[in-house]
């Protein structure tokens, strides 16, 4: 087991966004987290990387125990070096080229030599098909290209897991495919991934397990073959009928 999340709870003001969520992730799993907006799926991912502080809960990740509410800074820093995060709106470093976006964390965060970081950086850019754009700044790239660089950045430090927070939701429809293709090849390469998404086809065809969140709780968790054909919960049936399948 790579990641075990236990009883995570989180409220914003008086709104309970995560009520009591527990989840297990094995190495190599590709878990898609579905659910309507406001169901807590993004908050769940953000709590796992301490971008939000949970009110309660703990997790076991790669052999280390973390208190999701009270983990010390040093532990959080160490955790982030073993995880990658891909944001909905890419968040590429505005003032850095594509290559530097990938190498910056390796150099400043992981203490790597520039030459070594650049070798890795180029390799990552090649894998997402962005090698020839190494010297382009984010504003010179399309949304799909930016997100591919962001994925290269998330992969660079060889993380144990990558979290994807709606990675295609900000993209023009014709650019979604190139990003999903990169994610698919990552999954096929054995990367452990947790993907918050609205892409039903990706969930159905790529993920090993589908989690449906509903009002801050996990309403259903099943392999996609079951989830999409025989949803057990009322919430899942309603969600699937609204999503048009």
């Amino acid at each position: 087991m790579l990641l075990e999340i236990n009883h995570i709870q989180k409220s914003f003001d008086n709104l309970a966004v995560l009520k009591d969520v527990s989840l297990k992730v094995n190495s190599g799993d590709v878990i898609t987290i579905l659910g309507r907006s406001g169901s807590g799926k993004t908050t769940l991912l953000r709590c796992l990387n301490f971008l939000e502080r949970a009110d309660k809960g703990d997790m076991l990740f790669d052999g280390t125990h973390y208190d999701l509410h009270a983990a010390p800074k040093s532990q959080i820093a160490a955790l982030r070096k073993k995880t990658g995060f891909v944001f909905q709106d890419y968040n590429l470093f505005i003032n850095k080229t594509a290559l530097k976006n990938v190498t910056e964390g390796l150099i400043a965060g992981h203490g790597m030599k520039r030459a070594e970081a650049e070798d890795i950086g180029m390799e990552m850019l090649r894998r997402v098909g962005m090698a020839e754009k190494r010297d382009s700044y984010p504003h010179e790239l399309s949304g799909g290209q930016q997100q591919r660089v962001a994925i290269a950045r998330a992969m660079a430090a060889n993380p144990r897991i990558i979290f994807f927070d709606e990675p295609t939701s900000a993209l023009d429809p014709q650019l979604v495919g190139e990003v999903l293709a990169v994610m698919r090849s990552l999954a096929e390469g054995g990367m452990t991934m947790m993907v918050v998404t609205h892409e039903m086809n990706f969930a159905r065809n790529v993920s090993t397990r589908t989690v449906l969140m509903h009002e801050g709780e996990i309403a259903e968790e099943a392999p996609p073959s079951e989830f999409f054909t025989h949803p057990r919960s009322e919430a899942a049936r309603r969600f699937l009928s609204l999503e048009g399948k």
Binding site: N49, L51, A77, R80, K81, T83, G84, F85, F87, D89, N91, L92, F93, I94, N95, K96, E104, G105, L106, A108, G109, H110, Y137, P138, H139, E140, A150, R153, A154, A156, A157
Partner: protein
């Protein structure tokens, strides 16, 4: 000698008498105060955005005091007032302290706003890439913020050039006091004050040109944040 000839002669002889204090006092006073001011401003802005508790209130207090009182009053307090409290400072150090602290207060608000204008996702992405808060701040956020802050900071610098004339009130012989003395001696206030005004205008014109060149250079490296 006609009146025109006399004025012309006055202008030519007084020119160097005003320009030299300009080069020796006004410009160094401006540059040194601005540099110290920027350092103070950066620290003041950083303790605020980093939410360092005690220091944050101290920073707010400092900005409040220095933005809320006239610079002339501050100069008088430091130069004429502090000796009564047992702290005697020469005129130029007094002016340097007041100008630096004043610039620091104004520029810190510019920097704070510029840092806050950098999208929140930049910090999050940096942290997720394995960097520390400090690394992200210095390697990613501040360079972006500097670009946003550059035009208003240039404004502050140009303002400071002119504000150094206030130091005349505490016996610092900068351009304005030099002009004032010649005016008193020659009874030609109109000529002398216009002349010194033109000299200030010249310095500010040069700075404005420099600002435009620097902005063009910054522009080439992508758009500003926000």
């Amino acid at each position: 000698m006609t009146r025109a000839e006399r004025v012309w002669q006055l202008l030519t002889t007084s020119f160097s008498q005003i320009l030299i204090p300009g080069l020796e006092v006004t410009i160094p006073l401006t540059v040194i105060s601005f540099v110290f001011g920027l350092i103070i401003a950066l620290l003041t802005a950083l303790v605020q955005v980093a939410h360092i508790k005690g220091l944050r209130s101290l920073a707010r207090f400092y900005v409040w005091i220095f933005r809320g009182t006239p610079m002339l009053v501050q100069l008088y307090i430091v130069f004429y007032g502090l000796p009564k409290m047992g702290l005697i400072l020469d005129a130029i150090p007094s002016a340097l302290i007041v100008f630096s602290l004043n610039t620091g207060a104004y520029a810190s608000e510019t920097m704070r706003a510029a840092i806050e204008a950098v999208p929140k996702g930049q910090m999050e992405a940096g942290l997720c890439a394995g960097m520390s808060y400090t690394d992200v701040m210095f390697r990613l956020i501040l360079p972006q913020a500097l670009r946003t802050a550059f035009p208003p900071l240039s404004n502050t610098l140009i303002g400071l050039v002119k504000d150094t004339s206030l130091a005349a009130n505490i016996t610092v012989t900068e351009m304005f006091l030099a002009a004032q003395r010649i005016a008193a001696r020659t009874y030609e206030p109109f000529v002398l004050y216009c002349e010194v005004g033109v000299l200030y205008l010249l310095i500010c014109t040069v700075l404005t040109r420099l600002q435009r060149i620097c902005e063009k250079k910054l522009e080439r490296r992508g758009p500003r944040a926000a």
